[in-house]
Amino acid sequence: MIAANLPALQVVLPLLGAVLCAFFRRGVWAWGVALLVSLTMPLIAAGLLVQVLESGTISYALGGWKPPYGIEYRIDVANAFLLLLVSLIGAVMMPYARRSVEKEIAPERQAWFYTLYLLNLCGLLGIAITGDAFNVFVFMEISSLASYGLIALGRDRRALLAAYQYLIMGTIGATFYVIGVGLLYSMTGTLNMADMASRLAGIENSRAVLTALAFLTVGISLKLALFPLHVWLPNAYAYAPSMATAFIAATATKVAVYLLLRYFFTVFGAATVYTRLPVAEIFLLLSLAAMFGASIVALFQDNVKRMLAYSSVAQIGYITLGIAIANKTGLTGGIVHLFNHALMKGALFMAIGAVFYRIGSVRIDDLAGLGKRMPITMGAFTLAGLSIIGAPGTVGFVSKWYLGLGAMENGWWWLVFLLVASSLISVVYIGRVVEVIWFRPLSNAAKGAKEPPLSMLIPTLLLCAATIYFGFDTTITAGIAGRAAEWLLAGSG
């Protein structure tokens, strides 16, 4: 019974957990519930992945209403991989959350924080698992509304502004998405993605369908913070509570990227997307703009969280570059980077959260000399930073390697140089922080600092170790990503 209902449990457990958390007034109890749910999630996701790898796509009819009439949960290689990623990140971060939240959030609001976190998790997993276009919108709004709330819980009053800005941009993005779905629905009469794909065959060149594609692309690009649409992201990441930043940075944009892949490759099909509209060219241009523009802005930030946020925009550029390259190797690079970036950005934001826990500041001047007081945390920060740069032996290198190979396959040798050049910029902005941490005299703020509690240190180190491990052993990540890429490209037929 449990095995058959795993797809529903994946989404329902966080929802029920959120309900339970909302009853509690004490943050610790809510944390206990959230921890329990977060630790169960990867088990369910792993179970689903095993089932998918063994016996192919799983289809789960919600409420017993047969697809395409009812809502279908549809799990294949691509989204089973994503489910595992999101739930693993949640599971690793939850033990970390308790101390961080106790420090940063007023006691009467801590239970609400965990409620919102679980709702966010529920929404993200829901987007990944569902095969129904409108259901995606509902889950998208669940996760977005929860993340506006999470961001607004930040101590700094500018967190409110950031949340408001994100609310406006996010709602516009979601509404664009619904417009796209509405146009597709009026053209095909179905909301089930698989059914939609088959019914689009033959009418994919009609104006309404192409308009739908345009609306969907813009709407989802707002959610994934593609370069000119990223303005909500830096403030939101900079002022949100550390735990919220780490979780949202590691998961939310990744899920949006997945959604884009899903529409491009399984609903519309690569043939329509790449031949009828200049999607590859647009994404190539915007990705490059993100890789350079956002990296250069990151150079001038004094707030380390804000700097990492701009670096996120740049890294998202690498992921979308994989979409622009659009051959198997390049797409594998994009998907691997999706996974890798979640790991390294998670580790970086957690390390910075630990710094905030000890010294109450994330300004770069206050971090001076911190390497002497918090060597382990700062070591983790440095290693994850090396991964952002793409140093060999870290995950960052693996994804850039695949992206480079994919670019060569298309004959875009100049792109390889640009990849290297943008990595050099990240050497500067990461190097600037690393230099301050290790080689400057101790700042006043950092005087009394010591290593964070083990509950915060271990999860950070775990993610950091993962960035190294998957940098050497690429069979799991690149293997599954390769299968997913192959599957996505084949799904275009």
């Binding site: 529903a8 029920l16 409420g63």
Partner: protein
């Protein structure tokens, strides 16, 4: 509003009718326009009306803010819980058919319960929002 006898007496007459109508809309939702959402708003409007006429403190004695706060997740819990019952009875999540011997009746009971959950959440949310904003700036 100490002297507004007409208001107070009128409100006292209207309040039970409002609640009754909310319940009518709730349970008539199966056959005609209505349902948990509308009924929830109406019953919340009753509390809000009471608070406007008799003052926030009196209203909060009758309908404590903590109750509103509990009602919000409770309704969601009812909705999700009913779905889980279907799962425990061996069907897919949200399948209400096994709730009764006859699948059609099962669906009806399921929808009734879910609508009740909607009523609880919506009225709780409305009242909670109202209390939040009324309590500000005092």
């Amino acid at each position: 509003m100490r002297l507004d006898v007409i208001f107070r007496v009128g409100a006292k007459i209207l309040l039970p009718i409002m609640l009754l109508f909310a319940l009518y809309v709730q349970f008539h939702g199966d056959f005609g326009p209505g349902g948990g959402f509308q009924a929830g708003v109406m019953s919340a409007a009753m509390v809000i009306f009471y608070a406007i006429i008799f003052g926030l403190e009196t209203a909060q004695k009758v309908f404590p803010p903590r109750l509103a706060e509990i009602m919000v997740p409770a309704g969601v819990g009812i909705f999700a819980g009913v779905g889980v019952i279907g799962m425990l009875l061996g069907e897919n999540y949200l399948n209400y058919s096994p709730l009764a011997d006859d699948p059609a009746h099962g669906q009806e009971y399921g929808i009734l319960l879910v609508e009740f959950g909607v009523l609880v959440t919506v009225s709780g949310t409305m009242v909670a929002i109202f209390y939040c904003f009324m309590g500000r700036g005092r």
